[in-house]
Structure formats: structure tokens, C-alpha cells
Symmetry: C2
Subunit: 390 residues, 2 copies
């Protein structure tokens, strides 16, 4: 059965929690904001906002940041996020390694780490994740009470699907709910998402989408994924597997193929390997691009058409404010790809009065998956949630 997302009833306690998170999100989005302005925007009384602000202050989540100069009247006291008011652990599980990071409340990384992962079984992976968490908290010297939770990123899709057996996803979690499992093992609230969704959240928490409510993130991992954000919430689908754009059929050089065979890191690595160039790191790829290696340039040229088609699909199906490109490739390659795309005229995103670019490059670089993992936790702390049950 599908993930249950039944709406829950509102009572005083949940209303307060909702309002706290709403206020926090407005503070995050505005950078600096005063109480009266929050009240005006939120439909609450200034008194209510005042009470909530004083709560958040004493919890250390926000801080007073002077008064704004205005034309007339008492200048409003401004509040902003207090970066050290809380921290999130981000853990990215890849087939061969575990990456970990600690993020502050503003989404800035305090510490990162990488550990080789040899285990493939549930117990072994769990042990490695627990160890990674302990080590990164120790490295960053954060008081455990300040840890808001852990975000875990792993390759999807989740559960048994027609995409199972590609080797990328973790079949050990077909029978176990990964969130409940890791929450137990880590003794923390846990959010689990695939890499593309996490990357989208990362851009919202501390990237180019901090004030964009509705956008899509095209994530270049080993395959190709799409994270869809709609009104500040992820579009996850009935089973949390939305965004598997890599398996969409496209035409490439006259043949029908899955999009990610033409457009992904594995695809470019394979193409380069065919001419004897082995790259297994983003740095390596960056060097090959800097040298304008012909094999890479032909790959990029061939990638432009399927990428253009993918963008037209995303724009017309989801009507995002913008599409962000990012993931496991060098920034220079994303910039090149963005430059080489033909943006379709026949698209709902082709508007005369646009204020954002149709394509942006993500801000969180190659660590976007791991940072995204932490961002999931931060984001959840900022997301009002009366509407949907956990």
C-alpha cells in the first residue's frame, strides 16, 4: 500500500508547533525579519508572533540582529537564524563509501568525512552508518543535545519495483523501512530520501533556491534523478519513488534509449573509457574538460539533445519556477551543458516576463548529496506540518 499521508487534526499543541515552524521558515527565507512583518504575512496577531519569537530565542534557534531603519515609527527589531542553534547530521550511503557531514542551522557544513564501505548486508551497513555518525559528531565537537536529527541519502528506488536489480539501489531495505531502522540505530529522528530529492532540499536550505517554492533539481549521480519541490514540499509520489527520470525513453542518435544511458556520470565515464581515458573522480573529469578532450566534447555534444528533451518534459509536466542542474560532475561541465541546451519555445516555462533563469547550476557542488542529507533535517525543522501526518 502507498505511503500514508492522511491529514491530521489540529489542536493547540500542534498549532503551536506548526506556527513555530512557519515563523522559522519565514525567518530563514527573509534572512532578517521583524515580528510585525511576520504577523502581517502569516495571519497571526503580533502578540502571537511575539510569543513564538521569544520561545525561539530562548531555544537559541534565532537571534536578535539590530533594528531596521524605516521611514517612521518605532524601528522593528530584526531576527535571523542562529547558525549554532542546532545541527544536523547528513549521511550519504553509496555502494562503495559512506559520506557524512554536520550542518549548522543555516545549512553550512561544519565538518565532512568519507569512509570506505565494504559491507553490503544490513548489519554491516548499519554498523558503518552508526560509526560514521559518531565520528562526525566527535570531529565537529557538537553537543549531542544540539543535534536535531539525521538525514540519510541512499540510491532509490525504494521497495521492489521494475527498476530493481540495476545494482544501484539497496535491496537490503526492500523488507525494512529504512527511516525507522536508522532512527532506531542512530537514536535520532531520521529522514531518508534519494539523492535527487536531498539535492533539491539542499538548494532550498542553503543554495540558489532559498526563496523559490516550486522548482526541480536534475541530479547527475551514477544515473540521473529528479527532485521535485512544489510549494516548499517534495513531490515524492505514492511510494517515494517520484523523479526516476533516468528511465524515461528518449531518442539519442536515432535510437530509443533510457535517458540516463545518454546523460549521467556512468555514461560519460563509459564514453571516455572507450577511447582509453579512465576517470573515476570529479576532479579527473574536470581536468579532462579543461583539456577540451575531444572524446568528452563529442559526448557533451551528443548529450545536448536528450538533455533538452528532458528539460522540455520537466517544464511542461511540472511547471517549475526554474530547473537546477547539479550532482557528481564538475561545475564547469554543468555550465557547459547549460550553455549548450536548446530551450524549447513550446514550453509553459517560455514566458516573456521571467524573473529567474530557466536553468540554474546548483550551489552545493559535488557534496550535494551529503549536504542534502543534512539539509533534509534542517528543512523539516522549518516545515509546518499540520497538513500531513508523519
Amino acid at each position: 500500500m502507498a505511503i500514508s499521508t492522511k491529514t491530521v487534526g489540529a489542536n493547540a499543541g500542534r498549532a503551536r508547533s506548526h506556527n513555530r515552524q512557519m515563523v522559522l521558515d519565514r525567518v530563514r527565507q527573509a534572512g532578517q525579519i521583524g515580528r510585525a512583518e511576520i504577523a502581517r504575512g502569516s495571519g497571526l496577531s503580533t502578540q502571537a508572533v511575539s510569543n513564538i519569537i521569544s520561545d525561539l530565542l530562548s531555544d537559541g534557534l534565532i537571534s536578535e540582529q539590530g533594528r531596521k531603519v524605516t521611514t517612521r515609527g518605532q524601528p522593528p527589531v530584526q531576527y535571523g537564524l542562529n547558525p549554532c542553534g542546532g545541527y544536523a547530521v547528513g549521511i550519504e550511503i553509496r555502494p562503495d563509501a559512506i559520506f557524512a557531514a554536520i550542518l549548522d542551522l543555516c545549512g553550512a557544513p561544519i565538518a565532512t568525512s568519507r569512509r570506505t564501505l565494504r559491507a553490503r548486508d544490513l548489519a554491516g551497513v548499519t554498523k558503518a552508518v552508526v560509526a560514521a555518525k559518531a565520528a562526525i559528531i566527535d570531529k565537529a565537537q557538537i553537543a549531542p543535545s544540539k543535534i536535531l536529527g539525521a538525514g540519510i541519502v541512499m540510491p532509490g528506488p525504494f521497495g521492489r519495483t521494475g527498476l530493481s536489480g540495476t545494482g544501484s539501489e539497496f535491496s537490503i531495505f526492500h523488507e525494512v523501512s529504512p527511516a525507522a531502522w536508522f532512527s532506531d540505530a542512530l537514536d535520532l529522528p531520521v529522514v531518508v530520501e534519494n539523492d535527487a530529492n536531498a539535492a533539491a532540499v539542499a538548494e532550498r536550505v542553503a543554495g540558489v533556491a532559498s526563496d523559490i517554492e516550486t522548482f526541480a533539481f536534475l541530479y547527475f549521480g551514477n544515473g540521473l534523478g529528479l527532485g521535485v519541490m512544489q510549494n516548499g514540499r517534495l513531490v515524492r509520489g505514492a511510494f517515494g519513488n517520484a523523479g526516476e527520470i533516468g528511465h524515461v525513453p528518449v531518442i539519442s542518435v536515432g535510437r530509443t534509449v533510457a535517458l540516463e544511458t545518454a546523460l549521467s556520470r556512468l555514461s560519460v565515464q563509459k564514453h571516455l573509457a572507450d577511447v582509453g581515458i579512465d576517470v573515476d573522480s570529479s576532479d579527473g573529469l574536470a581536468a579532462v574538460f579543461d583539456a577540451r578532450e575531444p572524446a568528452l566534447m563529442t559526448w557533451l555534444e551528443a548529450a545536448a539533445e536528450p538533455l533538452s528533451n528532458a528539460i522540455t518534459i520537466i517544464e511542461n509536466l511540472l511547471d517549475p519556477d526554474t530547473i537546477i542542474l547539479g550532482g557528481a560532475m564538475p561545475d564547469a561541465i554543468f555550465d557547459h551543458l547549460i550553455g549548450s541546451v536548446t530551450l524549447a519555445d513550446r514550453s509553459v516555462s517560455h514566458r516573456p516576463n521571467r524573473t529567474t533563469e530557466r536553468l540554474l547550476r546548483g550551489a552545493s557542488g559535488r557534496m550535494t548529496g551529503t549536504l542534502g542529507a543534512g539539509a533534509l533535517v534542517i528543512n523539516r525543522a522549518f516545515t509546518p506540518r499540520i497538513a500531513a501526518a508523519a
Copy 2:
């Protein structure tokens, strides 16, 4: 600027309104349900639910429907929607005609009408819509106080986009917000959506998706549209233009074409016209299909591949519980199309333990747009909305 959907704060009044709508939605979805069961599912106390139920009873929105036989304990009093507790006006504006309907609270049509539309200007269209509303209310003999609102369906996309100028959309609303405009003119709360979104809502209110939270509706109108429902809410995109799947590039006979050139009512009409068969109604098309007209059969054969590709795109991008096909074609043709589609193995929807079909035919038939217009209003009455501002 994108549609603003900032989260709003919760207070006592909004909490009550939210809870009322949540209770109503649970009653709708269950058909019959008792107070204690609602309380258990919603996280509210039985007392709170009791109070809300008594409110809804005195407003006439629900009715007592006997007691359920249980194993032990006091048998719970069951409640169900009271169809005549409220009514919705649905109006569908097409380039050449205005369709209107009155729906009861359960989504059943009480009356329908059709009027030719000659006007293309704002004043003329408005006048026709106002007249259609007055006439349908008069025909159905509904007390104005029982009208919950009006839903209006018109061809998208909304605002100036790269799809403008195809002739289908109403450019008169490029500068005016249609919802505010019609709300003023009709003196009722108004919801405006495109046909595909309305059709999706219709299936949820009174169709095959009444207990499916996350699905997609592939709507065959003059073009092709997609209505996306996620957790019981429409995925509308940043500007309300999500779901323009007709302009998505897909593969047909080895070439990339816009989907709706291969798959839409206009497409089949054109194909038939090429061999001298003119059909301009759904009945006409049904007759041609009944006769197994070769030209139609070749069109259907050719349509299978792009339709299959479109379904793979929808499944992998949105991970819906199911995809519903419907709109301006005869049921028999939808059934034929569903039978001829090749469902991709490489899809997140290809799950071993499915409980719903991957494809369903919509239940609301050819009037789905008009009924959907009314369903928008019913749906809104049932949708808790603390989370998003109007």
C-alpha cells in the same frame, strides 16, 4: 511572479475549519464512519470529533446512518455525507460552448446544460457564464444558500507562455486573474482549473480514485493534458500550468514528436478526415469505432507507442498509485487503448505487489470536464487548508 502559496499561521478558528474539512474528507472517503474511528485516525480526542460532527449535522452536511454491528462494546453511530447538504456549480468554458452542471455534495450531477458560445471577448464570455450559472441553478431548483461555490474549467495554459497562441487557451485572461474576476461576476467563491486538473479532482470526488491519494489523470481533450494529484492535492506547478503533457517530446515511429500530435482528439479527427471521415462528436467516434473502421484502427495502432512512452514518463517521474485515462473520447476507445498499451518493465510502477491496476479508465465519461468543474468546489470543501494560503 509565481503563485504565492506561503503557509499561514494556525489559530483557533482556522484549526476548527481545518478539522471540519478533515472530518468531512474522512467521512467522504470512508462512505460510512463513526466518531471514535475518526478520532483514532486523526489524532483528535473523541470529544473534539463529537463536537465537529454535531456541527456538521446541524449544517446538514452529513447525516446519521444507523449503527455499525461490531464484535463488542457499544455499536458506533455511523455518519455519511448528506448529498443534499450542499451543491456546487460547475462551468466548463470551451471555445465554442459553455457547459454547466450542478453537483450534489457526493459529486452526483443534478442537472446539466449546454449553450453555444459566440463571444470571444471578456465581457461577452463573462455574460454567458453568468447566464449559464443562473439558468442551471434555476433548472435544478436549488436554494442559493445551498450553493457552496462555482468551479470553472477553461483550457490552459494560464498567463503568457510559450504555448500561447495555439488557439485553445483564452488569451482574454492574460491580464486578469480569472478566479477573482468570476468570483466577482458570479458572486460566489470560485475555483478555476484547466480541464485535466478538474478531471483528476472529479475522479477523486466521485470516481475511481475516491480513496487514492496520489494518481495522475491523462485527459484527452482537444489536446492532451495531465492532472496530477499528490496526497489529495493537485500538483499545479509554479504558475498553475503543470501537466501540459501534450507538448512533451515522445517517440513515435522513430521520431521525436509532441505527444498530442499523435495522441488527442484533434489527432484522430485529422487522421479520419484524411480518408474522408468527418467526426465531430464523441458519439460519432464511438460509431466509427463500433464499425472497426480501418483508418481508426491504424490510428489506434500508431497511438499505442507514444501512449506507452507517455505512461512510462508519468510513472517514473511522478510515481502515481495509478494513471487514469479519460476525457472526450468514447469509453470503448479508452478501453481499447488501455488494452493495447505496452506497460514498461523498467518503471517504478512495475511492482510485484500492486493492489491497483497501473491504468484505469475514468468514471465520469465525456462530461468529465464539466463535472470536474463542480468537483473542484466539493473537493475544496473537503480539503483541510491550514498549510497553504488561498
